[in-house]
């Protein structure tokens, strides 16, 4: 706890904070929350309360109290966020799928997505100082993929000498061993973190061969070296290494199973040099290099024939420079430019493919009076493979009075076509279909024709040639209330209304038929969709006995629809074939009414959470109960019209209750908890949800030369 406050204080000290005085009592949640320093929203350090866009910050203490191990554990409990499963566990923000949110570590993007999903389970949380979540398009600062928002993981900095070790064991033979050490020798700081995480997996469908989640084991090593050469010149070098192996065994058709090893490796290196020329000028040089690699080797169990032997290797390198200029605390200008080089090499690609991207961004922040905060920004991306993008964003915050503040932002976001959409060259040898990226399509169709595999071309391949980036225009409007200053009530609440209009969504479409009756698919800009909704979040902190209880709650209402479907429904042109309601042999057709359309699949109209955190620092006790509700959401079409319009096309809504208690005694903290207390499972539709999971952990912390915390 003490450490946390120190870290915050250190972060907030520079002249680049807006200079607002820390308000309120030191122990109150609201003052802490509002003064938490956030870097993600503006790429400069800002107190969270002053920002004109919706931002969530989750601190180290809260992550610990939740008993979270991996990033998905933390994010699934946050208002407005859902964890969705599609080739891994990804993040849904404001109704956008996982490929539309950028996941950053210390401001640098993680790479390695499978079918667009970045597996959040890859990220251990033991080395995280805080997680910052910015909702709404942030392409004006971060470029591609920051369409729905940005999640930035801020890792520990070696501010002092300390160490900790923790061990945890729980259901499904899940074990976690974490250790970290921070060393400080004058101007040099060193932080090192290690984690070993393994599980026997679990099986929700014992009748089939193999487990729902196969056994896996992974290791994470990360660290940071900091050197403060002078007050003005500082260097930080951080690195991370992640490696996972999974023993797969899965049934691919009745009676046939495949088995083998899957490996994932991920490493990155990030030196950052900060030079503060004067109070008014600061220059930051960053270099980021990362590699993501997977290897899969699956063979049929019965005849040992190969089923899938593939690899994937992606690299990403980026030098960047950023200049911050401060003018008497009222004007702040940020300018940046960089160059990005990306490559991918994989079994399913013809050859090693490369991208380059040159970009520049600016941001001007103006505080004309103490009530107003205006931010204007934009980014220009010149990419080697698709058209140039310009992404502007404007946001403003106005303090109505001591209690209420209004905030609003409007911006443009984009997502570039990814490697898969441009270069995939994949013939599925088991089922027989083919998928080609737009740049591969012409040559691949020609190859199929030469081989006599092409039966018929359905769509002119030229239509697929000029694939564009997907783009969105978004508006966020909100009001934030803090009843602390005026009424001395420890209550904060915020409401945010959002609307995103997305165009040129890239979809797969059949281009040709093969002689085996299967299709050839490629990617094309097709649909226009919108997502809109409201997010409400609040917290109330009250003393209970000698401790304090924080009650938090959140709710999101979401509507996400395809505009073409809405139009067709309006014209009465969408029908369904009733297989379930009527006798099956009739297979009668009925017209779908506009109000029966449930929107895009996998989006819950209602999501909510209720969280109770109790702390009694004197006795070293903390406890939490968190309830997370995910309302029903569409899974798949069952009446042949492709859209979500019938009750049996939904997955039932469900509630998860997670509890944890911990007791600290001197340097030791014992924690025990149960996730998914009610043991809710849905093997068919939610395979990533294991049943009830218990765990217990012991943590030892060494904090020399302090009074303890």
């Amino acid at each position: 706890m003490l450490l946390f406050v120190i870290a915050i204080a250190l972060m907030g000290q520079g002249p680049d904070s807006t200079g607002r005085a820390t308000v309120g009592r030191a122990d109150s949640l609201k003052s802490r929350a509002l003064n938490e320093v956030v870097v993600t929203a503006t790429r400069t350090e800002r107190p969270m309360g002053a920002l004109p866009m919706p931002v969530t910050v989750i601190g180290r203490e809260q992550i610990r109290q939740m008993g979270a191990l991996r990033l998905n554990d933390v994010l699934q409990e946050q208002t407005g966020l859902a964890i969705v499963t599609d080739h891994g566990q990804g993040l849904q923000v404001q109704g956008f799928g996982p490929d539309y949110t950028l996941i950053l570590i210390d401001g640098e993007p993680l790479v390695g997505r499978t079918a667009g999903t970045l597996e959040l389970n890859r990220l251990a949380v033991g080395n995280i100082k805080q997680i910052e979540i910015v909702k709404g398009p942030s392409s004006s600062l971060y470029g591609s993929e920051a369409l729905a928002g940005v999640v930035n993981i801020i890792t520990e900095t070696p501010t002092r000498t300390r160490a900790s070790v923790s061990a945890r064991y729980g259901a499904n033979r899940t074990s976690d061993l974490t250790g970290d050490v921070g060393l400080r020798f004058g101007k040099i700081g060193l932080y090192a973190f290690g984690n070993r995480y393994g599980s026997a997996g679990y099986d929700l469908t014992p009748e089939t061969t193999g487990r729902t989640v196969s056994p896996f084991l992974n290791h994470t090593l990360s660290g940071r070296l900091t050197a403060d050469f002078t007050d003005k010149l500082k260097l930080s070098v951080s690195g991370r290494y992640f490696s996972e192996r999974q023993d797969n065994l899965l049934e691919i058709s009745p009676g046939r199973a495949v088995a083998g090893l899957g490996r994932v490796t991920d490493r990155n290196m990030n030196p950052v040099l900060t030079y503060r020329l004067s109070e008014a000028w600061k220059v930051t040089y960053r270099y980021y290099s990362t590699l993501y690699r997977t290897q899969t080797n699956l063979t049929y169990i019965d005849n040992r024939q190969p089923y899938d032997q593939s690899y994937f290797r992606q690299t990403f390198d980026r030098p960047e420079v950023q200049v911050d200029h401060y003018l008497n605390q009222k004007h702040m200008l940020t300018l940046g430019a960089g160059f990005m080089a990306e490559s991918v090499e994989a079994t399913r690609y013809t050859e090693r493919q490369r991208f380059t991207n040159k970009y520049a961004f600016f941001q001007y922040e103006w505080l004309p009076t103490s009530r107003w905060n205006l931010i204007l920004g934009g980014r220009y991306d010149a990419h080697s493979q698709y058209a140039t993008q310009f992404s502007p964003k404007v946001s403003a915050r106005y303090e109505l009075n001591q209690t209420f503040a209004l905030r609003g932002s409007a911006g443009v976001g984009f997502k570039a076509p990814d490697f898969r959409q441009l270069y995939l060259n994949f013939d599925n040898s088991v089922v027989g279909y083919s998928v080609f990226g737009t740049h591969e399509l012409a040559a691949s169709l020609e190859r199929l024709r030469r081989q006599g595999q092409l039966a018929e071309v359905l769509t002119d391949p030229a239509a697929f040639g000029n694939i564009r980036a997907e783009s969105s225009v978004a508006v966020n409007l909100g009001v934030a209330a803090d009843l602390g200053r005026q009424y001395n009530l420890p209550i904060t609440a915020s409401l945010n209304l959002f609307r995103n209009d997305i165009r040129d969504l890239i979809e797969t479409q059949a281009v040709a038929l093969k002689t085996n009756g299967q299709s050839v698919f490629s990617y094309i800009n097709l649909n226009r969709v919108f997502t809109q909704g409201a997010e409400l979040d609040g917290s109330y902190r009250l003393p209970v006995g000698t401790g304090r209880l924080t009650i938090g709650g959140g709710y999101q209402y979401l509507v996400a629809k395809d505009k073409a479907v809405v139009e067709q429904l309006r014209q009465g042109k969408i029908f369904r074939r009733d297989r379930i309601d009527g006798p099956p042999e009739t297979l009668l057709t009925a017209r779908v009414k506009a109000n029966e359309y449930g929107g895009l699949y996998n989006r819950s109209r209602h999501m909510a959470n209720l969280k109770l955190f109790y702390e009694q620092p004197r006795r070293g006790i903390s406890a939490s109960v968190r309830g997370i509700y995910r309302g029903r959401y569409g899974f798949a079409d069952r009446n042949a019209n492709v859209i979500l319009d019938a009750d049996n096309e939904y997955v039932n809504g469900y509630m998860l209750w997670n509890v944890a208690v911990s007791k600290t005694l001197k340097a030791f903290t014992l924690q025990a908890g149960i996730d998914n207390l009610a043991g809710h499972t849905d093997p068919q539709y939610i395979p990533n949800l294991p049943g009830r999971l218990w765990y217990a952990s012991l943590r030892w912390t060494l904090l020399p030369n302090t009074k303890g915390s």
């Binding site: 038929l513 479907v565 042999e585 009925a590 895009l600 492709v642």
Partner: protein
């Protein structure tokens, strides 16, 4: 974003749907709907190793709407048949590669609501194997293809001009043997279940 495939309609279809012609004489005796079950359309076994169909003849099953029976392939150059089935491909006995007077139009609406051929309907014909009156491909003609399953698009009625110049409406109900309520990857494909109304008197009345 979860891909949501939409069957986009041609502008032509959009324009012609509302023009239900109510002025047809009502004195004509109503014609009855007939359902045909499990019409084999060149069935084949799919080799799970290669994905290739095995045992197919590559021939169309020709069907006479007037008589409600199949017509021998030796009669393919006559106007005795109206519609032919081979896997997902449907052919019509009309056009430069056929000998009949047939044609087809894909109407959007329900089978029961469609009482007559809407005004302004233009019948397409089979001009070449790549240019058929009923287009092939997912979302383009009568079916959607997703998750290895062929499903007839609900609300698609095939307006047919028969080989001998009469009119009919056809709705494909299932592509799988015994028209299972929920076909699976193991359902036997290439077996059509469809219902139709044939008007023998040469009028465009389909009720």
């Amino acid at each position: 974003m979860q891909p949501v495939k939409i069957a986009f309609l041609t502008t032509l279809t959009l324009l012609s749907v509302f023009g239900c012609n109510q002025e047809e004489p009502t004195s004509v005796a109503p014609v009855k709907a007939t359902t045909i079950r499990n019409l084999a359309a060149d069935p084949a076994q799919i080799n799970p190793q290669t994905g290739q169909p095995v045992g197919a003849t590559n021939k169309f099953t020709l069907f006479s709407l007037k008589d409600g029976v199949t017509v021998a392939n030796s009669d393919s150059a006559t106007n005795k048949w109206d519609i032919g089935f081979r896997a997902t491909t449907l052919i019509i006995n009309g056009g430069s590669i056929r000998s009949g007077r047939g044609g087809a139009f894909i109407h959007t609406g329900t089978f029961d609501e469609l009482k007559t051929i809407p005004a302004g309907t233009t019948f397409a014909t089979d001009e070449s194997p790549a240019q058929l009156a009923i287009p092939t491909g997912s979302g383009k003609g009568w079916y959607n293809y997703a998750n290895t399953l062929i499903t007839p698009i609900p609300g698609r009625v095939l307006l047919i001009r028969t080989g001998d110049g009469n009119y009919a409406k056809v709705e494909i109900l299932s592509y799988y043997k015994d028209a299972p309520a929920t076909p699976t990857a193991t359902s036997e494909g290439r077996y059509y279940t469809f219902r139709y109304v044939y008007q023998p008197d040469g009028s465009q009345n389909l009720n």
